[in-house]
Symmetry: none
Subunit: 102 residues, 2 copies
C-alpha cells in the first residue's frame, strides 16, 4: 500500500523575496517575508519607520495591499512601497522628472 | 525497507554564479559565491575596492541586498552592482544618455 506523507497545510507560508521602496523611491530593500504581517514588521524595522503608522502599496500603481490572501497571490519580484502619514503614491515618471527641471 | 541518505541541510550553500558590475557599469565580472558574505569579499578583491565600505544592490533597480536569505532567493543570473561611498544607483538608460543634463 502507498503511504502519503502528511504535509503541513499552508500553516506557514514559505518566505518569499519582496522589494520594498520608500515613498520617494530613493531607498529600495530586498526583504524575505512569510506573510504580509511579517513584511510589515520587517519593513518597519529595516526602513526605520519607528512606530508611525504606514500602509503598503504596489510601487507600480499605488494599489493598497491589505489582505494576506492578496499578498500571497502577488508575484515574487513585486515591488512594494511604504506610505507614511501625509505621503501619497506618485508615478515613477513624475517623481523622476524633477531632475530634468531647470 | 528504503533508506534515505541524509543530506547536509543547507549548512553550506552551493556556489552560485553572480555577475557584479561597478557603479558606472563599465566593468562587469562573473563571480562564483556561496553566500552574500563570500560575494562581498570576492567583489571587494576582484573589483579592487580596497578597504572602503560599499554596498551591494541589484543592477536592475537598485534594491539593496543586505541579508543572506534574500541573496539566496535571487535567481542565478542576477546582476549585482557595487556602490561605494558617494555613488548612487542610476537606471541604465539615464547613465547611458545623460540626456537631461545641460
Amino acid at each position: 500500500t502507498q503511504q502519503l506523507l502528511s504535509k503541513p497545510k499552508h500553516k506557514a507560508h514559505r518566505a518569499r523575496p519582496c522589494r520594498v521602496s520608500t515613498a520617494d523611491r530613493k531607498v529600495r530593500k530586498g526583504i524575505m517575508a512569510h506573510s504580509l504581517e511579517d513584511l510589515l514588521h520587517k519593513a518597519q524595522d529595516i526602513l526605520k519607520l519607528k512606530d508611525k503608522p504606514f500602509s503598503l502599496v504596489l510601487e507600480e500603481d499605488g494599489t493598497i495591499v491589505e489582505t494576506e490572501e492578496y499578498f500571497q497571490a502577488l508575484a515574487k519580484d513585486t515591488v512594494f512601497m511604504v506610505l507614511q502619514k501625509g505621503q501619497k503614491w506618485q508615478p515613477a515618471s513624475e517623481q523622476r522628472g524633477k531632475k530634468c527641471q531647470l
